[in-house]
């Protein structure tokens, strides 16, 4: 519908749509201008001072070591590879932290609701203490407290081929030999078998009404068949055993204390937040639901599993997502206790050697942005799935 007097500017300005349009155009112009202004200044400043730009440095040798690398890495590798190593470290600690924090959070959240007074109180103390102390301090605590209580390598605590000392937990490192293919085949077979088992169990329930502990059974199947394959192929694995050497334990696989401390700090800290979310979620499920389930004769464990938790999840998931994001971002504090994650390697060492702040910080932000986005996309998908079932 056009206004008959739209020729007059006043009318034009009074039109709601036009006003919004003008405002938005101005806003866009401001944003673009500010962006352009900053960018040109940056270019001028960088050129003035002869600071190198671009990502060419990623192909140059890094020259520094990285303590924890899940892919092959030596000082002779490039900055690019160091970046990937750090990226993997960040992703690994984030995902493991998320898994562990979720477990801790759920356990503590349930503990806070326990009808054992003492347990509930202890869980409250746990939550209130860890939530209210800066994470950095907690990282220091875990790192230095872990180190303080462990023995020096000479006096390692030894369980068979496992060593525990200030340098970490050492375990045998499996190295595959010829014939390992059989084991892999056996493993795949066992997975197929266990899927079949689950399907069969479901069918049988539909026919006879009897439940079969299919998940435990398939777990057993997988272990059993794989083990059988191992025996048949004559154990085609050799273990690189850790051994005491002059300073350290060498060989084997090692879990360094930095990793343990960061993981523990991140997951206990975030776990405290998750505990509160879980508690609120469970409390949000009407008590009537529990009563109804009970009066149908469901056991308390089944009541929780079939009735309360599925409903609580709806309330839990959105804030849980934020906590996951926080955990991923907080992993950047690992730099303070020698965990070589992204901030340590890229914003720390690489930036210091190349002096290219813009590129390095840009890389970091990009990674964190992508990681956050992936986590929230996954959680949104999961959330949608849960709410679809409901309605």
């Amino acid at each position: 519908m056009s206004d008959k007097n739209s020729s007059s500017i006043k009318n034009f300005l009074n039109d709601a749509g036009n006003r919004a349009l003008i405002f938005q155009v101005v806003l866009l112009a401001v944003v673009v201008f500010v962006g352009y202004y900053l960018f040109t200044n940056l270019q001028a400043n960088l050129a003035n001072q002869g600071i190198s730009t671009g990502f060419a440095f990623l192909n140059q040798p890094a020259g520094f070591p990285v303590l924890i690398h899940l892919i092959e890495y030596t000082e002779a590798n490039t900055y690019g590879r160091a970046f990937v190593v750090a990226l993997i470290n960040t992703v690994v600690i984030s995902l493991m932290g998320i898994a562990l924090a979720t477990i801790i959070g759920v356990v503590m959240g349930l503990a806070r609701l326990s009808n054992n007074w003492l347990v509930a109180r202890l869980a409250t103390v746990y939550v209130e203490t860890l939530r209210n102390i800066p994470l950095l301090l907690q990282m220091f605590f875990w790192y230095f407290a872990v180190l303080a209580t462990l023995p020096i390598p000479k006096n390692s605590i030894i369980f068979g081929d496992f060593f525990l000392n200030k340098r970490g937990i050492y375990s045998p490192n499996p190295i595959t030999q010829d014939g390992f293919g059989i084991v892999i085949a056996g493993f795949i077979l066992s997975i197929i078998a266990s899927i079949a088992l689950v399907v069969w169990a479901k069918k049988r329930q539909t026919r006879t009404g009897l439940w079969f502990p299919a998940y435990w059974a398939s777990f057993g199947t997988i272990i059993g068949i794989t083990f059988l394959a191992l025996v048949v192929s004559g154990f085609p694995i050799e273990f690189d055993l850790p051994q005491k050497s002059r300073f350290n334990v060498t060989g084997g696989m090692v879990l360094p204390p930095e990793f343990v401390a960061v993981l523990v700090a991140l997951s206990t800290y975030t776990g405290a937040f998750i505990a509160e979310i879980v508690r609120a979620g469970i409390l949000s499920v009407n008590w009537g639901q529990t009563e109804a389930a009970r009066s149908l004769g469901l056991k308390d464990s089944l009541t929780q599993r079939l009735i309360v938790l599925p409903q609580a999840l709806r309330v839990i998931i959105p804030p849980l997502t934020s906590q996951f994001l926080n955990l991923a971002k907080n992993s950047s504090l690992g730099a303070a206790i020698a965990y070589p994650e992204l901030v340590a390697v890229v914003m720390g060492t690489t930036l210091n050697q190349t002096g290219q702040a813009i590129e390095n910080i840009g890389l970091c932000m990009l990674v964190y942005g992508t990681l956050s986005l992936s986590i929230s996309m996954f959680m949104n998908w999961y959330n949608k799935k849960m709410s679809l079932i409901e309605r």
Partner: protein, 259 residues
């Protein structure tokens, strides 16, 4: 005759009692909510419980399937004593269906799943058979066509009927109703009462807390009137309405019938 004596008299008459309250007392903290309840219900009997708000009607009903614990006296359901023994409680709960005032349907499950949940998990019934049975009861309450919807998509009256069907799916020997119509509008009340009347006519043991006096008059074998945690009066409906023994009952009836 004190109330207690009178109630006991009822007990003496009962043969084949399926529910027995013996000197049951219950406290919430310091608050004495059930006082010396002595009462027994015969197999197939239909009991309507009424009384002012807060008199302990819900509490008494919920003691029957031990949603509440009592602290003194004994409750026997089908000859089994209700105590801390989990096995007993589970066994009894299988035999006792309950319909709540607020339905308490499981919102995350479809109507059919709401109904088959207990038969499959508790009675270990084959899924197929459970579903057939569920459809049977849904037809009984005339909403078989809604089986695949979710509770949030049904009207109040429909939901309440699902709740009744859910209770029936356990094929219980006793049904407990706690004010099953008070959250509904008049039209829906009628729907639900119709279903209950039908059930009653089939001879199921029923305990029903309600203030629908029409229902009480039509189907109840006995009407129990409670106040302040005690059973004040329990009698056949016509006796109860026409000739209440206690002044308390009279007062209550005058209020409720004038409404």
């Amino acid at each position: 005759m004190t109330n207690t004596n009178m109630a006991r008299a009822q007990l003496a008459q009962g043969e084949e009692a399926i529910i027995e309250f013996n000197d049951v007392n219950k406290w919430y903290g310091d608050f004495h909510v059930l006082k010396n309840i002595n009462f027994s219900i015969k197999k197939g009997e239909r009991i309507v419980v009424c009384g002012p708000s807060g008199s302990g009607k819900s509490t008494m009903t919920r003691c029957i399937n031990r949603l509440e614990e009592h602290q003194k006296g004994t409750i026997l359901v089908d000859g089994v004593e209700m105590n801390d023994n989990l096995k007993n409680i589970e066994a009894i709960r299988k035999d006792v269906g309950m319909v709540f005032q607020h339905f308490n349907l499981f919102p995350h499950l479809s109507i059919l799943e709401n109904l088959t949940l207990a038969p499959i998990w508790v009675r270990k019934m084959p899924k197929k058979q459970a579903e057939e049975m569920a459809m049977h009861y849904l037809e009984r309450v005339k909403i078989a066509n809604q089986a695949l919807k979710y509770p949030g998509q049904l009207s109040g009256g429909q939901q309440q009927r699902v709740a009744i069907a859910r209770g029936l799916c356990m094929q219980p020997r006793i049904m407990l109703f706690d004010e099953p119509t008070s959250a509904l509008d008049p039209e829906m009340i009628k729907e639900v009462l119709d279903v209950m009347v039908q059930l009653a006519e089939e001879g199921m043991t029923m305990v029903c807390v309600t203030h629908e006096m029409g229902f009480a008059k039509t189907v109840a074998d006995r009407v129990v009137f409670m106040d302040a945690g005690e059973i004040v009066e329990a009698n056949k409906p016509n006796e109860f309405f026409d000739n209440p023994q206690h002044d308390r009952t009279q007062m209550f009836l005058s209020q409720i019938l004038n409404h």
